[in-house]
């Protein structure tokens, strides 16, 4: 090409210019009149990808995490038809882009090797694979003959699936939908409804200068951890709030506290009233905001009495009171260890009274926003629901029971004796993804699509401001053609039960689409149906306008219930909830099994936490096995010794110790402390008193290396995690100085 400046690259450029390419090739016996553009619609590649799909490029779709009831929005990265990674949805009012370990690991539930892929029916004692038609026919015939003696037992639910479930239940004459969650806030919800007129008031940690948490692990398991984690980050910047934790053993929230105070479960109310007493007697607050009866009760909880009952010294009470007052507004919260007791309602009442006394109501505690469409509202879980179901099952009230998204045979307290009671239900239908304890005890197993293969909507149990209806949409095709979405199964069942109004919907997708079209104009915001449907799926949620009301304060009796003394079983059992295993539902996710627990750093196994003084009395050290016995049974578990647990408490976190639930949950078993829990309930709400079980602890003589992330518990003077005082921080970065 001497004298000609066309190089290879330019040549290819010309080639790429379609018609120009044809001209360039005119010497090669090609027709010169046809361009590459002409007739292209008749050329269809066998490898035609779907719209937007570019091999090698990930596309992000919005959906909703189902790993716990708090309803975080997610974006799933989809590449070549597979979902590979989840990230928080940056626009979500719940989690604003972040995600916890359970949300990150929920992909391993979707791709889990132990998923159930075929419907099964119990034949001759064994679950046998059958066709969907046969399974559904069996369910329909039994439901048809049950005369309304049908119950639904589910985990927390909301949105269009819950609405459809109601329709179905009403059609078959059933009345009972039991919503059961082991990790719940039910006692506080009952007391809040009574005292504030709002079951789940809105908390503003970010506006508080001091937070006093009685076992409310808001960074890990309590109510809406990702939402509160972000509030916590704001709480710690600027003038930096003070976090005080009072609990039987250290939670993740406690592990981040500036001040950590050990307390026996059930005595938190006494401590709260002791703080109230200090605030009033030292004239730090005006007591007249509380009624005379309440003030009279508080006056009985002087420092000496509180110290005698709880072991918490007067200096500690004064320090807490001073923080709460000086850093006003503050916020006082009651979590599981405080409310899941025989006197739990009274503990929450005392905590709420402390909030009222400190003037926090209306500042850091506001009224909840209710989602305007009532049929989609959240059905929050409780443990009383399981007790009610067990009672009905025992009385022979149910010919058929549907069980969805809950595993009560694992998580029910031993005191409930659920196994025998559940067996009295004629036909147990499990709508499930995994072969867990309850599913394997069912008579019919209907395999469900994973949350990332299925359609749905959720209203979070805790609705943050600007929160609303979350959209759950499939991030990929189902891995198995033989699984069905929950909504689709319910639709088939409801149609068979004669719900003629549903015949117009070919599938749950159509039902959902119609449901969106039927939303009130106030939610649609002037969009057309098609536009609203498309926008909602794109964004991943439907926001509703904030209609913050005010709380009506009413204070009742604050007197605390004394703990039952028992000499046979001298110690308290704390079956603590931890993010990760949660209530046991995550034990089949290997990423979470391999994560060391934040506090003890134990992986793949259970442990018992003991205070050094208790361990010394028993003559045990880290790694030794102890026997923990209650009136219900016993278990043997390795000990972790540290100073973050009350000496009268042995803490064995829940979540492990599955009999079934696939290879990862049963490979390294661990123990299930829920099998030591008796039947005691909080007298007022009927909620299970999870923290009231007493145990006896003894040495077994066995010992083994602790499965724990190794290394030193001490920094040995090196500057690894360095610490400075809050005074220094406020001086250098406080107020507007903060950049991080």
């Amino acid at each position: 090409m001497s004298g000609n400046d066309i190089n290879r690259r330019d040549f290819l450029k010309f080639m790429g210019l379609g018609g120009a390419g044809a001209v360039t090739l005119s010497g090669c016996d090609m027709p010169t009149t046809v361009t590459l553009e002409e007739g292209k619609e008749e050329v269809v590649s066998y490898l035609a990808p779907e719209e937007y799909v570019i091999p090698g490029i990930g596309v992000w779709y919005a959906s909703t995490c189902q790993q716990c009831p708090s309803g975080c929005g997610v974006h799933g990265r989809v590449r070549e038809g597979r979902v590979l990674k989840l990230e928080g949805n940056p626009d979500s009012p719940v989690n604003a882009g972040v995600l916890c370990q359970m949300g990150q690991a929920s992909l391993q539930g979707h791709y889990n090797p132990d998923r159930i892929t075929k419907p099964m029916v119990r034949k001759g004692g064994n679950l046998t694979e059958v066709s969907w038609e046969e399974a559904i026919e069996l369910v329909n015939s039994k439901v048809g003959a049950a005369n309304g003696k049908v119950a639904m037992l589910t985990g927390a639910m909301s949105g269009h699936q819950a609405e459809l479930m109601d329709t179905y239940l009403a059609k078959i004459g059933g009345k009972d939908h039991f919503v059961y969650e082991t990790i719940n806030n039910a006692v506080a919800e009952a007391v809040n409804a009574e005292m504030f007129g709002s079951a789940q008031p809105r908390y503003n940690l970010d506006k508080a200068g001091a937070v006093l948490s009685f076992g409310a692990d808001f960074l890990a398991t309590w109510v809406s951890p990702m939402h509160f984690s972000q509030q916590y980050a704001k709480f710690r910047t600027g003038n930096r709030g003070v976090l005080i934790a009072v609990e039987p053993n250290m939670s993740l929230t406690g592990a981040n506290a500036d001040m950590w105070v050990p307390a026996k479960p059930g005595t938190e109310g006494v401590i709260a009233l002791g703080v109230a007493n200090v605030l009033i007697s030292k004239k730090m607050v005006d007591g007249s905001v509380l009624p005379v009866d309440a003030l009279a009760t508080i006056s009985q909880y002087g420092v000496d009495k509180v110290t005698a009952e709880t072991g918490v010294g007067g200096d500690v009470l004064v320090r807490i009171a001073t923080y709460l007052k000086e850093r006003s507004p503050s916020l006082v919260l009651a979590g599981a260890s405080a409310q899941s007791n025989t006197g739990g309602s009274q503990v929450v009442a005392a905590v709420n009274a402390l909030n009222i006394l400190l003037g926090n109501v209306g500042k850091t505690i506001g009224a909840e926003d209710a989602f305007p469409v009532k049929s989609l509202a959240p059905r929050r879980g409780s443990s009383a629901a399981l007790a009610a179901f067990a009672k009905g099952a025992d009385a022979g009230d149910y010919e058929v029971a549907f069980i969805y998204n809950t595993n009560p045979l694992y998580s029910a307290p031993a005191g409930l004796e659920l196994n025998g009671k559940l067996a009295k239900v004629g036909l147990k239908v499990a709508l499930s993804m995994f072969p867990d304890e309850t599913t394997l005890a069912a008579d019919v197993v209907l395999p469900l699509a994973s949350p990332y293969e299925d359609w749905g909507t959720q209203v979070p149990g805790y609705l943050p401001s600007e929160g609303g209806l979350n959209v759950q949409q499939p991030l990929m095709r189902p891995l198995y053609s033989t699984v069905k979405g929950l909504g689709d199964v319910l639709l088939v069942l409801a149609k068979a039960a004669g719900a003629e109004e549903l015949n117009q919907y070919a599938d749950f997708y159509a039902y959902l689409q119609a449901g969106f079209a039927a939303m009130p104009a106030s939610i649609k915001g002037g969009m057309s149906d098609a536009e609203f449907w498309s926008k909602s799926r794109q964004k991943g949620f439907v926001a509703v306008a904030n209609s913050q009301g005010s709380l009506n304060v009413k204070v009742g009796d604050l007197a605390q219930v004394a703990d039952k003394a028992g000499s046979d079983f001298p110690m308290h059992l704390a079956p603590a909830a931890r993010a990760g295993m949660y209530d046991g539902r995550n034990a089949n996710l290997p990423w979470l099994q391999e994560q060391p627990d934040p506090i003890t750093k134990v992986f793949w196994d259970s442990w018992a936490e003991l205070h050094p003084s208790t361990a010394a009395k028993l003559g045990v050290k880290e790694g030794d096995f102890i026997r923990v016995e209650s009136a219900q049974g016993s278990l043997e578990v390795q000990v972790y010794v540290y100073k973050g647990v009350h000496p009268d408490v042995v803490a064995v976190p829940m979540g492990r110790g599955h009999d079934e639930y696939g290879r990862f949950a049963s490979r390294e078993k661990g123990v299930n402390p829920l099998k030591l829990i008796g039947g005691d309930v909080d007298a007022k709400s009927g909620e299970l008193a999870l923290y009231s079980t007493k145990v006896r602890v003894s040495k077994t003589g066995r010992s083994a290396e602790m499965p724990r992330l190794g290394g030193s518990e001490s920094q040995v003077g090196r500057r690894l995690v360095s610490t400075v005082s809050a005074d220094v921080y406020r001086r250098t970065e406080g107020g507007g100085n903060n950049v991080a």
Partner: protein, 281 residues
């Protein structure tokens, strides 16, 4: 290097990075981790497993220290800088420390590799070339932070039983036995960000490349970015904390500022700055 030379220039020993070296960096990826915001929740670590095809090795191998957690969260009970904790109980919580490869600019792991499998990229990353690695483990022995992880076995054989393998990120490889691996600052995400920027004919902007850990952090305690971009969030935090790269000893106008680098006295010049945990005392 003769003995005479070493003895005569002892005070300069391992301080070459102060002269800036001969690199012409395109980017200098760094992090700032605010330990006061870090709650120790493990979200970063699980996000790392999801993003980087980290193998699950099981209980026994974890106990032998073979866990492949590129990002581990350490926890200490004492706080020596504010007097420790000698009471009967913990008077405050614990101290959490997310540890990932510190991407040292004077990395002790790099010069000892007999095959140059670990080297410094023009992005300021401490990179590991898997198919060059012969598994001598010298680098791991020489890392003062213990943040390099060796594939003693073919962990992949048991880590992803079907269909778990379908989740594997195709943007990076699954490592086989005999290979050293470690945190890459999510180099595949950096590359995607650079490719996207080039395709769009612009420079890489702050926020284009975010590591999986920083993205998911529930309190946004981890900030990642380019130190050479003076407008990036992370370089502003470093500047505000008066911590500089390429220094063996930080001279701060305000010594109370919280920024520090771990084991800085070893002259490794790490690219991760931590901010002190704060406690009410």
């Amino acid at each position: 290097m003769s003995l005479k030379n070493v003895l005569e220039n002892w005070s300069d020993y391992r301080k070459g990075h102060e002269q800036g070296g001969h690199h012409d960096y395109e980017h200098m990826w760094v992090m700032a981790v605010d330990l006061d915001k870090c709650t120790g929740c493990n979200a970063c670590s699980v996000a790392c497993y999801a993003e980087n095809n980290l193998a699950v090795v099981g209980k026994e191998r974890m106990m032998k220290g073979q866990g492949m957690h590129w990002l581990r969260v350490e926890r200490y009970w004492d706080e020596p800088q504010i007097g420790g904790d000698d009471g009967q109980f913990q008077s405050a919580g614990g101290s959490f420390l997310p540890m990932m490869c510190q991407h040292c600019n004077a990395a002790t792991c790099e010069p000892v590799c007999p095959v140059a499998a670990t080297y410094h990229t023009p992005d300021g990353l401490n990179a590991q070339v898997y198919n060059r690695c012969i598994g001598s483990r010298y680098c791991s022995n020489n890392c003062p932070y213990r943040l390099r992880y060796f594939n003693f076995f073919s962990y992949y054989e048991e880590s992803w039983p079907e269909p778990l393998n379908q989740q594997l990120n195709p943007d990076l490889s699954v490592r086989d036995k005999g290979v050293m691996e470690k945190c890459t600052f999510c180099v595949q995400r950096i590359r995607t960000a650079k490719d996207t920027a080039r395709r769009e004919g612009r420079a890489v902007q702050d926020g284009d490349a975010v590591t999986a850990c920083a993205q998911t952090c529930p309190t946004q305690a981890i900030v990642f970015g380019d130190m050479l971009d003076k407008e990036s969030r992370v370089s502003k935090i470093w500047a505000k904390q008066q911590v500089e790269l390429g220094k063996t000893k930080q001279v701060k106008a305000n010594p109370e500022l919280r920024g520090y680098r771990i084991l800085e006295g070893l002259n490794t010049d790490p690219c991760i700055m931590y901010l002190d945990r704060v406690r009410e005392v």
